[in-house]
């Protein structure tokens, strides 16, 4: 009989940790070109979550599963951070790593922009986590 409130807030902590871990993977990717399966999976999760069709479509969202990015509340934050009007165009950059079309010459820029996005995401997730963990007394 799971506790609802703690689980809900801890999803934001999970998202913050997953963002930081992904930053670490991207750093490795930038320096060695090495791509691990967990990194690709996490990037793909993010890419799927940022599908603009999710917000406007007439169909239901997929069943979220265990992804730290997949739940409604987390997806909202991701989409807020990756504002589509933003010049970074995060989704396009995620796609070029996931589908392997990234060019060597673009690698540093893509990784830098994605790292900056993930930092923002971690930051927002930590703030959300702090706000929701309101049992602390003040």
């Amino acid at each position: 009989m799971r506790g609802v409130a703690p689980e809900s807030s801890s999803r934001f902590l999970s998202m913050a940790l997953a963002s930081r871990k992904l930053m670490k993977h991207l750093e490795l990717f930038a320096s060695t070109g090495q791509m691990s399966d967990p990194m690709i999976e996490a990037l793909r999760d993010l890419y799927t979550t940022m599908d603009p069709g999710r917000q406007t479509s007439n169909s239901f969202a997929p069943i979220p599963g265990q992804s730290p990015f997949g739940r409604y509340e987390q997806a909202m934050v991701i989409n807020e951070v990756a504002d589509p009007s933003h010049s970074r165009d995060v989704r396009k950059k995620l796609a070029c790593i996931v589908d392997g079309t990234i060019q060597c010459t673009d690698k540093d820029e893509v990784v830098r922009d994605l790292t900056e996005f993930l930092y923002d995401l971690e930051n927002r997730a930590l703030h959300k986590y702090s706000e929701q963990s309101n049992e602390r007394g003040w």
Binding site: M1, R2, S10, K21, R54, Q55, I63, Q66, L126
Partner: protein, 475 residues
Amino acid sequence: MDGNERERAFLHDTAACFRFVKSTTAACKLGSGFPSYLEPTRELLKYIKELSLSTQDFLANFPSQIPGEPTQFRSKRELLWLIRETWTSLHVYVKPAVDADTLNVPTELVRLLTQRVHLIEKCESLEFAVIHTDKLNYFQFPPGDFEQNASNLGEIVSAQAKFPPNLGIIALPHSQVQHLFMNGLLAHEIGHFVFSKLDCLDRIKASLSEGLRVAFAPPSDVGLDAKTRLQLPEVLQDWAEELFCDLFGVHLLGPSFVLASIELFDLANLWAVNGGLDEKAGKSHFKFHSTHPARLFRLWRQTALLETLGWWNQIYENGSHYIRIMDACRHLRQGSFVFEEIGTQMGSRVLDAFHRAIETIENEVATVTTNLRDGNGLAKEIQEFSKLKDIISRYLCHAVVPSTLCIDKEFRNPSAIVLLNAAHFFYLSGIEDLIKNSEHSTIDDIRKRDIWMERVENWTTKGLEDLTMSNELGV
């Protein structure tokens, strides 16, 4: 802020974080004497301690190369905050795990549950660290709450220790350790871990999506906004998992699990004077909530499963009012329940979607637990229960631990499941006979009842211990 000031601030903050991490796990002391822990709990405490030491090592080297570039500085500084918040969340587990030594967990029940789980295919190596919670509820900490967060932190701080992949963490209320029968609800929490480990959702989610698609086929979807479309799949996912875990509990422990559910939710409150369900008293129990199915729905499905498995025929004549409640639940139908959080009409469509997926969920539980029934395992248990329940009751009624029974001048041990279930039914309907047999007190003396109820649980626990010892000695 100039370079020196920035550096000093950074050094101070890192040291403060270091002290915080060090202190959170100071209580994790694993010596060889008292307190003693079940191996999975010891493993959990050891892992927490090692993760703490790795975090401290990481922080000890952290201040080297403090970046001057603002973005990199921010990112590096925020990692301290992330580490602190993660340890704030892990801190929640430390004391409850330290407190859960072998004298303060239902050791025999945990052993029985673990043995049962080991019969399940691909679950042969699962172990469970049972820790305390100060909430009057039973919890399974979802992977995201501990395993995933601890593992991610471990990767960030380059920890050597890996979270034991087959270790589930389950919490029970610290005050209820001695309440053997209600602790049967741990079976539900184990179900959450099995659900996650065996990726059961992967085989259920298509039916959930299909249920939503059919229930909200145009024009039924008029008025359904984008937010609700995004949230409903989560709601159905949560309901599906809860239902899975309830049914898993029934497969694992039999009727005793259902009786424990009735006690936890005090569903006996719904027993009307005419013997049916008092719908006024139980109004809220017909309601689904966004995180959990309605309590009576859960009891309905659990009872239906007891019927399917063949248990019902063996228990329905028991005089307990819990059986009357279960019997009344058997007459419930899909239309008995409501989900009002998004409006009654829309809610009924969501329930319709869920009901379309129930068969798939029930089949998934049945598939996962196949080995518990195979080789006539279940049929033998039910047959044994039928034969031994009255004998076990007689033993308890005469204050004898029913681990070795004398039947037709031969001694035999009941199986642990049969002992647990028979004793649970005696606990519900035989206490008065025990009191009459044991002393000159009246059956309406609540304090005396409390004592005898506790004794029945203690004798049953002792019986389970005896059976474990017999098995270990090969007797």
